[in-house]
Amino acid sequence: MSAECMLETRSLCKRFGGVSATDDVSLCIYAGEVHALIGPNGAGKTTLISQLSGLLRSDSGKIFFSGEDVSRKSAAALAQLGLARSFQITSVFQELTVIENVAIAVQVTLGSSFRFLGNAAKDPAILGPATEVLKRTGLADKSSVLASRISHGERRQLEIAMALATEPKMLLLDEPMAGMGQAESNDMITLLASLKGDKTMLLVEHDMDTVFTLADRISVLVYGRVIATGSPEEIRANREVQQAYLGDD
């Protein structure tokens, strides 16, 4: 089983004080699939994502990425292995322009930045991929605008662009549509759909329509526990899920 999983967790737990934020979470995300993680507020989704991306140390349990045990690796080390995360709260380099944001992500992927000579802003090895990613994410015309000056939706797109620029094996997307208007959300869905099949994705999302549109498989997290995993149809049909989540949403 674990050989096919791009990302696998075994009995992952995290407690804050006496409260279990995640409790015995075992998941398997297959290579190439879009796996959605849903659950009511406070179900522990963001905690789980933070554990997966190395920002939170798990109390117990193991995480495997491409078959390698990464339970105790730092966020930086995981990123180098190809696990890219977009943040729920937008986190870009506000004082840099859009292309500079993507360029730094490309540069980081190219290996050590202990290069003291040459003009990085004109380096084709950086500029080429950066421009490419901007085109792909629909930000090409904003490339020289400061990240603090673009709209919220564009900033979320920039997040995805930066994640893509690191050429990750897998994307962890924490509510990429949070706080977006309808038009912006649609743009984002189009963008994510265009990545489907190309990148493995773990998507945390509130909006059910989006989840059922994009996801190959869905896991439902309630009070830190996975109560069901399956295809969108299976999840829709699952009574426990309906009771716990869909019913009173």
Partner: protein, 381 residues
């Protein structure tokens, strides 16, 4: 665990972010011209005055240029990394003692391992010991951020101060006169013109080095870390290593300035490392405009000239100087360089759409709005 204090610190720092360094060229070229003019004036005027028989101005200029190198070095960490070191005077002290001690022993014997008159040896020693000190203290200091970083760098500099005070053989509190200046090929540092030439060339070298560093991949990482360090870490960058290397480079450069300083004053004493010296260095960087390559030079020039003219005008010159410091903080966001950049990018904004953006950058991105940034940060169109 990310303490809230750090978070408030980070948000404050975020407001303090200056314009991205590599955006400068998009604005007008005039600020660059002004910088060039200042540099030429700095190189030429004192020499002309000297040839005209006025030695005094060459002395002022030499001191200015040496301190400018120190300020440029401080700006590497303060401006481009956003790390306010309050202990850079320690490196000046190390550099100065790296000249004084070998000369002392060569003259009076003892400690033959390091004794010598050779300028190469002095400079190498100054750079090596400063770099080592920066490596050790930086490795510890860089674990902290914000105020803690300010205070811990100051603490290390105080340790250096008391170490120097305890060196009985080298005059302790009173310091030590240096009998002979460093010996260098082709140069005679006893000749004020030669000394000034060396210092000025060194300043050009320091500026060139900073410029190269800041536009390199290495520099991009530093600037990005200043802007949003957690994000950069999540991209897989161990920011700590880069900042440590920057800190070591900065310390070595500052130590070099200290070696020049010893050759200029022919006197070394622990007072070179007093914490107020570090405070003055910070003033030079901030007044000139941190995050601007040339800012520290302008800041140092302003400091030296103010000191000179105010102290001629009144023995109480610290009063107007202190008031000026407060006014700078309250009203001169981004320092002189920032003000110049703002001034010119406003003018050219009419004709050039890119610089409209760059104007808003100069005004909107932090230095201009630190006080009210929370209110204005989010209301951008």
């Amino acid at each position: 665990m990310d303490n809230a204090l750090n978070r408030s610190e980070q948000s404050k720092l975020a407001h303090h972010k200056c314009r991205s360094f590599y955006r400068r060229h998009r604005g007008s070229v005039l600020p660059g011209m002004i910088n060039l003019l200042v540099l030429v004036a700095l190189g030429a005027l004192p020499v002309i005055a000297y040839l005209d028989g006025q030695i005094f101005w060459l002395d002022v200029a030499t001191r200015l240029v040496i301190l400018a190198i120190a300020a440029v070095s401080l700006n590497l960490v303060l401006g481009f990394c956003g790390l306010a070191s309050f202990g850079h005077a320690a490196f000046i002290g190390i550099g100065a003692y790296a000249v004084g001690i070998p000369v002392y022993h060569e003259t009076y014997g003892g400690f033959e391992m390091i004794a010598g008159y050779s300028g190469w040896w002095h400079l190498a020693l100054a750079i090596a010991v400063s770099a080592l000190f920066a490596l050790v203290t930086g490795a510890i200091s860089l674990r902290t951020r914000g105020v803690h970083f300010i205070m811990i760098t100051m603490a290390f500099s105080q340790m250096m101060y008391y170490t120097l005070v305890s060196l009985q053989e080298y005059g302790a509190d009173d310091g030590l006169s240096i009998d002979l200046r460093s010996e260098l090929p082709l140069l005679n540092l006893d000749d004020p013109l030669h000394l000034f030439g060396l210092c000025f060339a060194s300043l050009l070298g320091a500026l060139l080095l900073s410029w190269t560093l800041v536009r390199s991949r290495f520099g991009k990482v530093l600037v990005a870390a200043r802007s949003n360090e957690p994000r950069l870490k999540s991209l897989g960058v161990e920011t700590y290593r880069y900042q440590l290397v920057a800190y070591v480079i900065s310390g070595a450069m500052c130590g070099y300035a200290g070696a020049l300083m010893a050759n200029f004053t022919v006197f070394i004493s622990p007072s070179m490392v007093e914490w107020s010296r570090s405070g003055e260095l910070i003033f030079m960087v901030v007044f000139g405009g941190s995050a601007y390559l040339f800012g520290p030079v302008i800041g140092t020039a302003a400091f030296i000239l103010l000191e000179y003219f105010l102290s001629r005008f009144t023995v109480y010159w610290h009063l107007p100087f202190g008031i000026l410091l407060i006014l700078v903080v309250l009203f001169l966001r981004g320092g002189v360089s920032g003000s110049i950049a703002r001034l010119f990018s406003k003018r050219s904004a009419v004709s050039n759409s890119v610089s409209v953006n760059s104007t808003s950058v100069a005004e909107g991105s932090a230095p201009a709005i630190q006080g009210s940034s929370q209110a204005r940060g989010e209301d951008t169109p």
